[in-house]
Amino acid sequence: MNHAREALRRLRGQNTVWTFLVLAVLVLVFSILRPNAFATVFEFRSIATESAILVLLAVGQTFVIVTAGIDLSVGSVLIFSGVVAVRTMNALDSGPHAGWGVIAAGTGAGLAAGLGWGALNGFLIAKAKVPPLIVTLGTLGMALGFGQILTHGIDIGNVPSALADTVGSGSVLGIPWLIVVAVLVVAAAASGLALTRFGRYTRAIGSNAEAAGRVGIRADRHLIKVYALSGLLAGLAGVLNLAHFSSTTLTSGTQDNLNAIAAVVLGGTSLFGGTGSVIGTVIGVFIPAVLESGFAILQVQSFWQTVAVGAVLVAAVYSDQLRRRRRQQA
């Protein structure tokens, strides 16, 4: 009895629950306003598909923000990795019917590129002690710049059709591949953060890096791993992005980093580090997506969505600060 009440009280204190309620209310409101258009399986599935790539970026960002860091580079790393992946595939077989071996090699190259940028971020932050904001602002520029250099600034659309038709826009058992990949990544990351030693060290470092160091946790090594993870997921997102749009999408994605950070914060992860949840982040991705879709269906100008998300974001961080201040006084 007492236990149940404790658990309930703790649950209520968690930002994730509030975010989920916001999402549920949004879905409910739009569904009531336009039941035929909004509350359909098709609409939900297309929202999920559109969001799948952002989910990957936001999941990596969650780990980073839990360490009290930030990764601004994810959108550029996504594009760079897509470029590397398609260049590798084209180098091996430039025809539209390149086989799965070629696709696998390109995918591997794309993932490695993402991992590399992430590890570089981590190294500069943990070892060279340059603040995360500056390091990832720098690699944001560098990764995008290199991506443009490798393509001379012209989008490459020569993506093997085997990749584009399956992973890019196909389904398994009626579920789009993009959603399948995102769900698998979310499941692994959510358990990783909540249940494993890796997740616990991530929280501990974000909470009190000095305390973690005193008990023998190598905060520098762990930070490198966390940023590398974020880079790796951005690399995977890059390959999926390439498959989905059949293009390197050089000029899009400038908002990706902000959208990812917004999703993490909306999902209840504290910008001050120490606490966070991957499931919360997924909910945080869906709030702007649902808003956008809902506004489109209601024929409200879609620009209102960015206004609404911006306002909610500031409110979320403000309430997190209030919570922390209250806690300090307790």
């Binding site: 404790e6 249940l195 501990a204 909470s207 023998g216 307790a330």
Partner: protein
């Protein structure tokens, strides 16, 4: 007296122009509470840090069981059963008490899950509940982040963590400084209970009545050097203050001269 468990001989540590330790001696004997007292800036915290491997001394010797040792890091000292409660609490405020107790020493599940790094949260929680109960620490909600606990409870968690892992010595740097009267009493009870379990306690404190009530012995540091040592039962507040301030410099019975290993 038996051989000291842990001993410092002629430790020197300088920070730029400041000589925090200038040939400091210090000894901890098995199963005792020894208070380390001295004015602000006397070098107490620095001495403790050198003895637990957090700071490398510029000169002098550290002996464990009579044998010269050197600790490369706090981890080395911890491996030998020496733990520290730091002056600024070294807890991760967002984690709960059990997670803090096991921080850096997490228990993993068996088999494949363990290989994947999955924590055995239940086992750790059960052991934490036991450890807190054994020391009489009352937390209420053990799953709550440490940040939501009171100052005294947080201090108790920090102490319980050190005690749970220390097999030989626990250093406590002003563990009661930030606490109210009631919580202060609890922490002192905790200190006695730790000693009764056979673990030595080195207590740094500015509160002389507190020192006299809980310590078996007192060692006095002044200007980076040990200037006096007392049996707590045979000394008085006035004598301690005199030693700390240097008022008794001259011909005190207990004073030891530089290089005198006493």
């Amino acid at each position: 007296m038996p051989e000291p468990l842990l001993e410092a001989r002629g430790l020197v540590k300088t920070y730029g122009q400041v000589e925090a330790l200038s040939g400091a001696n210090f000894a901890v004997y098995p199963g005792e509470v020894v208070a380390l007292v001295g004015d602000n800036g006397a070098g107490k915290s620095t001495l403790v840090k050198t003895l637990v491997g957090a700071v490398t001394p510029d000169g002098g010797q550290i002996l464990l069981d009579g044998r010269p040792t050197s600790f490369g890091s706090p981890r080395d000292a911890q491996a030998l059963g020496i733990e520290t409660v730091y002056q600024d609490l070294a807890l991760a405020a967002d984690l709960d008490a059990a997670a803090n107790l096991f921080l850096g020493r997490e228990q993993l599940r068996g088999g494949l899950l363990g290989a994947l790094g999955v924590l055995d949260k239940r086992a750790m929680r059960d052991r934490a509940v036991e450890a807190f109960a054994e020391l009489g620490v009352q937390l209420g909600d053990i799953g709550a982040p440490v940040a939501t606990l009171s100052g005294g409870q947080r201090q108790s968690v920090a102490i319980a963590r050190s005690v749970a892992w220390a097999s030989r010595v626990v250093f406590m740097d002003e563990p009661t400084a930030a606490l109210g009267v009631v919580q202060r009493g609890r922490v002192l009870d905790l200190v006695r209970r730790v000693r009764d379990r056979g673990v030595s306690v080195v207590l740094i404190s500015h509160n002389m009545p507190e020192v006299l009530s809980v310590a078996d012995r007192v060692e006095v540091l002044r200007l980076g050097r040990r200037v006096a040592r007392f049996e707590a039962a045979e000394t008085s507040l006035e004598e301690l203050v005199a030693a700390m301030t240097g008022a008794m410099d001259g011909a005190p019975p207990n004073e030891e001269n530089e290089g005198d290993a006493a």
